[in-house]
Symmetry: C2
Subunit: 367 residues, 2 copies
C-alpha cells in the first residue's frame, strides 16, 4: 500500500503579516506546478489556500494574520522522483519567502516529513506523550495473542524492538534496562532464589542465570511473547528461552496472581522478586481505576513471598510522569507490611526518555 508523505514548512514573520502579500508571493510557486487553487478568506483569521495537483498530491497554505505561515504538502511516497519534486517545491516556497520577507522573517522550520499509512510504522510516542520517530526498517513479527498485540520491529540502531500493544517494551540495545531492574550490578545472585514476574523477553532470566543463582522461577502469562522473543530477540535472551526448564531455572506460562497466592500459602520464600509486568498506569485517579488495586495486590503478594532481608525490583515510569510516580509511591505506604524504597533514574537507549526504577524492601524492625 502506497504511504503518504506529509511535509511541513513553517514561517514566523516578525511583525503582523500582510496576508494578501504572502498569498500573492506564493501563488505563482504552486501554480507553476500546475496546481489548482481554492482560497478561503476568513477576514479576521487570515487565509487558507488549497492547491491540488492532478497526480493526487495537494498543498495547504495557511496564513495567519499574526504572522504565522504554515505550508503542508501531502504526496505519495512511492518513488524517489516524487519525493524530490516535493522537496524542490518546498525549497522554492522557502526561497520565495526569504526573497519577499527577507528582513521580517524570524524563523523558518521544516520538519522531517512524516510517513503516513506505510506498512512500517516508525512512530511510537514516548510514555510522556511526545512524538518520536524510530529508524525502523522491517516488521519482524506482528501477531495478536489472547492478551495483547505483539510486534517485534527492527531498528537500525537499537536492533529488534519488542512492542506490546503499542508500548515500546525493550530493544536488543537495552541491557541498561535489564541491569537496572536487577539492581544495577550491586547484588550478589549467587546461590539465591529469584522470582521474575512477567519478563517474557527473557532478558532478566538470561542475565541472572549467568550469575549462578540457586533457582530462578519466571512466571509469564503469554506464551506468544516468549515464542516471538526466543526467535527474534536473541541478543536479549540468548538461548535461555529455548527450553522452559534449565539447570537453575524454570519458566511457568501462567497468570502470576494465582502462582503468588500458591507460593504465599505454601510459605515459599525468595531472596529477590523482580516485577517486570507493566509500567505504572498513567491514570491520576486511582479511586476510579482498579489498576492501582491490581498493582497493590501484586505488591502485597510479592512481599508475602519475599524473605525479610530480600529485595523487590521493579520499573516505575518515565521520569516526567511525576503524578503517576507519586501515586505509585503512595501505594507503597498501603501494603500489609511497612516497606522502604529507593529509586534510580536510568537512560534506556530505545525509550528516548529517562526511566525510573524502584528497589523496595521490608522495613527492618529495630532490635
Amino acid at each position: 500500500m502506497a504511504a503518504a508523505r506529509h511535509s511541513t514548512l513553517d514561517f514566523m514573520l516578525g511583525a503582523t503579516a500582510d496576508c494578501n502579500a504572502v498569498l500573492k508571493a506564493l501563488q505563482p510557486v504552486f501554480q507553476e506546478q500546475g496546481m489548482t487553487e481554492t482560497v478561503h478568506n476568513w477576514e479576521d483569521h487570515g487565509y487558507l489556500a488549497t492547491y491540488i495537483k492532478k497526480n493526487g498530491s495537494f498543498a495547504n497554505l495557511r496564513v495567519h494574520p499574526h504572522g504565522l505561515v504554515l505550508v503542508d504538502l501531502q504526496s505519495y511516497n512511492d518513488h524517489a522522483k516524487g519525493r524530490e519534486e516535493t522537496d524542490q517545491l518546498l525549497n522554492k516556497v522557502e526561497e520565495r519567502m526569504k526573497e519577499v520577507f527577507h528582513g521580517n522573517l524570524k524563523r523558518v522550520k521544516r520538519l522531517p516529513a512524516i510517513l503516513r499509512g506505510g506498512v512500517i510504522d516508525r512512530y511510537w510516542p514516548t510514555a510522556d506523550g511526545r512524538l518520536v520517530e524510530y529508524d525502523i526498517d522491517e516488521v519482524v513479527y506482528d501477531e495478536d495473542s489472547p492478551f495483547q498485540n505483539i510486534k517485534i520491529l527492527h531498528s537500525k540502531q537499537f536492533g529488534n524492538i519488542l512492542i506490546l500493544s503499542g508500548d515500546v517494551n525493550l530493544a536488543e540495545s537495552d541491557l541498561a534496562y535489564t541491569r537496572a531492574i536487577m539492581g544495577s550490578g550491586k547484588e550478589d545472585y549467587t546461590g539465591k532464589e529469584v522470582l521474575i514476574l512477567g519478563g517474557g523477553d527473557g532478558g532478566i532470566l538470561y542475565e541472572i542465570v549467568k550469575l549462578n543463582p540457586k533457582m530462578v522461577t519466571m512466571v509469564e502469562i503469554d506464551q506468544m511473547v516468549i515464542d516471538g522473543c526466543k526467535k527474534h530477540m536473541r541478543k536479549t535472551c540468548g538461548d535461555v528461552l529455548d527450553n522452559l526448564k534449565g539447570e537453575c531455572y524454570e519458566v511457568l506460562i501462567e497468570d502470576c496472581i494465582p502462582v503468588l497466592k500458591r507460593y504465599a500459602k505454601e510459605g515459599r520464600m525468595f531472596d529477590y522478586v523482580i516485577n517486570d509486568l507493566t509500567a505504572v498506569p498513567i491514570s491520576t485517579s486511582p479511586e476510579e481505576d482498579s489498576t492501582w488495586e491490581f498493582l497493590r495486590l501484586i505488591l502485597d503478594l510479592s512481599m508475602k513471598v519475599l524473605k525479610q532481608d530480600g529485595k523487590y525490583f521493579t520499573q516505575g515510569n518515565c521520569i516526567n510522569l511525576t503524578d503517576a510516580l507519586t501515586l505509585y509511591e503512595e501505594q507503597l505506604n498501603r501494603l500489609y507490611c511497612p516497606v522502604e524504597f529507593s529509586k534510580e533514574i536510568v537512560c534506556v537507549p530505545s525509550y528516548m526518555e529517562l526511566w525510573v526504577f524502584y528497589t523496595i524492601w521490608k522495613k527492618q524492625t529495630e532490635v
Copy 2:
C-alpha cells in the same frame, strides 16, 4: 504569538476503500461542528474534503482509493477548551470510522499533535534525520554570536540543553558524552598535559580538572558559548568556566588552528588531545567539500602535538550515518603519520540516537 496545533488521525482500511462511503460517513461529523465543506474529486486518486470553521480552524479529509484515509486538523493552541474540542472531534471521527468500517479497519493511528509556530520549539531532529519532540518548556538563552546561533533550552528530563545552530550539542543529563570523549574512565589523567579543542560547554574541562592533571589547555573560539554555559549549564561545567584560568587549567578564546600551529612549531606536546569541535560532516562527497580537508588538518596538527604514546579522543557521529563514519575513518589513513583507532558506541541521553566515539593513537614502530 498563538501557535497552531496540528493533529493527525490515520486509518488503513483492509480492502480497497469505497471513497464515497468514507466521505458520506464522516461528512456529518464535521458538519455538526458548523464546518463548511469543499470537496475535490480526482476520479482516479480519490477525494480531498476541506472543512472550514468560523474560528479559524480547518480540517482535511483525504481519502485514497487504496484504502488510506488521512484526517488533518489545524487549530489554535491558545486555550484548553479549543484543544478539548479538537480532541473530541477526532474522537468522533474515530468512533464513526469504527462503526462504519468495523471489520475492515486494519490500523488506526493518532500521533501526538504537533505544535507549529510556538515561542518554544520542541522539535530538534536527530543527526540521522528523524523527527523527535523534546519536553522543552523554556527558552533559557537565545543569541547569535559571530560564529553561530546559540540556544540553551530547558528540558524537563534532560535539564538545560545547548543547541548550536540547530544541532543538539549537550544537555546537563549527558555526563555519558563527557565520559566517553575522555576515554570512558579507562585513562589516568593524574599529572598529564591535556589539550581540549572546542568544549565550550565546559563539561570535559570540569571533569578532567577533578582528576589532578598537570595542565589542561582548552581552546574555544566562541566566548558567547562559554558565557551562556557558565550561567545556564552549571550541572555540566560546575564553576570551572567562572575564571578562564585556574591552578591547573587555562582557557584560550581563540581559533584552534593557529594555536595548534604555534604549539607544533614550539614543540609543545600533550598526553591527551580531545577534539570536541563538531560532528563528522554529513557530506558524502569529500572531494567537493573542504570540511574533510579541515578535519584532516585538525587531525594532522593534533598528531603533531601528541606525544608518541598519547591518545586523541573525539566524537564521531550517529551510528546510523555509516557513510560519514567510513569517510572519517578513511581520513585517518591519510595523515602524515600512521595511526590506529578504536571506536565505542555510547547512548547519550538527550541525543535520542546512539553515538560513535573514537580513540586514535600513533602506530608504534616495532622494535
